[in-house]
Subunit: 259 residues, 2 copies
Amino acid sequence: MYFSSMLSVVFLGFGNVNRHLCEAFFSSEKIEVLQVYNRTIIELPPSHISINFTNEVQKIKKADVYIIGIADDAISSFSETLPFSDRLVVHTSGSVLMDSISNKNRKGVFYPLQTFSKSRKVNFSEIPICIEAESESDLKILQEMGEIISEKVVEISSEERKKLHLAAVFVNNFVNHLYQISEAILEKDSLPFELLKPLIKETAAKLDTLSPTEAQTGPAKRNDLKTIENHLYLLTEENYKKLYQQLTKSIQNAQREEL
Amino acid sequence: MYFSSMLSVVFLGFGNVNRHLCEAFFSSEKIEVLQVYNRTIIELPPSHISINFTNEVQKIKKADVYIIGIADDAISSFSETLPFSDRLVVHTSGSVLMDSISNKNRKGVFYPLQTFSKSRKVNFSEIPICIEAESESDLKILQEMGEIISEKVVEISSEERKKLHLAAVFVNNFVNHLYQISEAILEKDSLPFELLKPLIKETAAKLDTLSPTEAQTGPAKRNDLKTIENHLYLLTEENYKKLYQQLTKSIQNAQREEL
């Protein structure tokens, strides 16, 4: 172990990411959750009642690591308001540069690459934790902190993290929107979205054994013009029609590059 | 049971769907797989060696149900070449009308709503089997046949099936293509696609507890223009840029409709 005594953390902000991180760290014996700060007064979950809470930056305690979990565009200015210096302050965002954090403290990033909802339990052990720091010693602290909850801690630069976040938008936000569109298509005919769930799960699970290129099937890949035409006829909404055409074209482009 | 003796089936064509159906039926004691027909000579899997094989339509045996599993646009003409009449002939396609099958036989559809790959095991019990037939008695045969392998057998008309298939293209083919794009984005920077897999799985698993509309997150939904702009700057390929813009616009449209 790099740090001889127990590592102590303070959470700054208590949105979905910090809430789940706090829960994971709180149940570990290798880390001490000293405090939660939040701009507005909030109630901690009943199981976390023993954790100190404050809504005043002046009362933030001394800790080994501060984890900022607030809106992306507030990270920089908030970090300026912290009333201490030369401590390790990290944020948890996929799309914000490490350098956005104020220079008066040591900077870092602790980005769990996952989607978090208030209502869903998270098993951190398989979630990649992408870390970044200015010094080797801070990187080591973040590495050890990550390994407390996850089996996959990787060093990722700010530039790489941008690309990861962009790719994550495709497989999470955009994919979820396609689920939403398919639900809307079925709803029009009172068909239950439930029917598609085994297909949705298998489409994701296939990646265990096949690359996305190997897994690609369907009318666009087969260049099955009759089915494509039928589908475009069935899509009455202009926006969905455009998306269908664009995605079909993109599949066929990718297909040509393969040949 | 509607049929007193064991139901017998013959598979016509041996692509992915029929291959998996054959395996599932073959391991059941409630159904007899009489024969596999295929236009070209193929080898059946070693475990299926006891099943009769033919590549001559004239030698197709008498059975209770014939299951056509061939290319969509070949179903109609192939069904005309069958040298028998008044028997129950079904196809397994999501996008072909029941009436495409030749009039000389009793028509039906037995459509398992799932994506099949040669290399992946399938657990049929959770896969919806969408059935259609011209008569109540044939529908009942397909219902019982479906229940041998699946807990979810539903009657779906040809018109409804078209919509289901269209929705399936969105959640399967199009979603998989988004996986492919994100892999391409990461590959450019030698970042491993592995890192995204927990996110991909959770995005699908979320639907167990949230609707797609409830599950939607991300820069498009938040109207986070700065991140959107950064992402468009990072996307050097024109085709991906267009898709990003179109999907972002579509998420924002859906968002407005919610309000």
